[in-house]
Symmetry: C2
Subunit: 238 residues, 2 copies
Amino acid sequence: MPHDAKPAPEAVRERGRAGAAHKGQQTRATILDAALSLASSMGIEGLSLGALAEVTGMSKSGVFAHFGSREELQISVIREYHERFEEEVFRPAIQQPRGMPRLRALFDRWIARVATEIDSGCIYISGAVEFDDRPGPVRDALAGMVLMWHGALNRAIQQAVDLGHLRPDTDAMQMLFEIHGLILSLHHDARFLRTPGAIDRAHTGFERVIQYYTLDAARPSPGQAAPQAASSGVLQTS
Amino acid sequence: MPHDAKPAPEAVRERGRAGAAHKGQQTRATILDAALSLASSMGIEGLSLGALAEVTGMSKSGVFAHFGSREELQISVIREYHERFEEEVFRPAIQQPRGMPRLRALFDRWIARVATEIDSGCIYISGAVEFDDRPGPVRDALAGMVLMWHGALNRAIQQAVDLGHLRPDTDAMQMLFEIHGLILSLHHDARFLRTPGAIDRAHTGFERVIQYYTLDAARPSPGQAAPQAASSGVLQTS
């Protein structure tokens, strides 16, 4: 722009608004970042505009201007957590081919994520306990995110079935229930009991689950005669 | 006692003391009962002498006289919970013969217990999340009780191995990790997500775990040639 040309007042205002919006987004991101740390250690219920103002060095009204209410802040933190979870676990994993490679990548990255959270805590897992008897929008937001993640895993299992990587009679919900249990056990043992070896146990458990849902592919369907190898089975409910 | 005989003053004082002690125990039991309900819904950290006074209709100093401190109250609640857990789950189960019958009884009763707690919450499970980053005597008491229970399950698994009910190479800690995961998954899905069918899934998962640790009894040890049936195994870590 020539040195003697002045920008039109409208353009200045536009740029000013854009700059303010950008700064606002940055501040919001800074607050969210602090809120995530706070929620990991204190729980989502431990989040308050006051505590957050203290941590960020902002005024309480400054924090309030960005989130409006404690509930809105809590829901924003859950959404932010979910986005980071998707970024670290979901998106890289779905780059893998459908079927077992993708399912394995999803679980491996999930374990890796929980492993990095052994010191800080997982908002999904602790939040589930915090909000299991507190109905309302925060619980709904949290349950919605968890169900979205379960849905993604469910699809990955179903694709592995459709591609013949897993037994055709695999109950995806059952398999998910078992896999999720390994993650919860890992979080419990590593974070609460501080038992060594929990990460290895989760991996070993996953291989066992996979083995079960593939190895028995030749299992007879009901009505067919059982082959010798399956005659000692003790699976009484299925 | 003849109507003209008066009891010796010492005996009266004795009986008075015994009566007061009995009444004291009853009051303590009443407070503990209320404290357990409160801790189930509000969490162990939600326990306070004030809240408890309100629920029981006692004075705060009256509650204080029985427990001395909030921490002592919290630890007493954990002990009381543990005793009830033992009463309902552990003691009846160890009446069963050692090996699979006992292990099965322990797990069945554990599931039944968690199932009755779907509405109230399990202090072990929620307490683990509440106290995973709060070191101190309350966390230690809670972890101690959980480890005691895990120890009992560990012994039951080991006995089932020793009796030949489970594969000789069964890793009891690994099996416990997987079984505990089923319980945690049940608590999560039934209580937080309100997904139907979680109890059945926990039972089905348990049968699968049992099947794995028994069915493969004839699995070759490392170095031996794998029989045909095991050649498609995908167990990559073990």
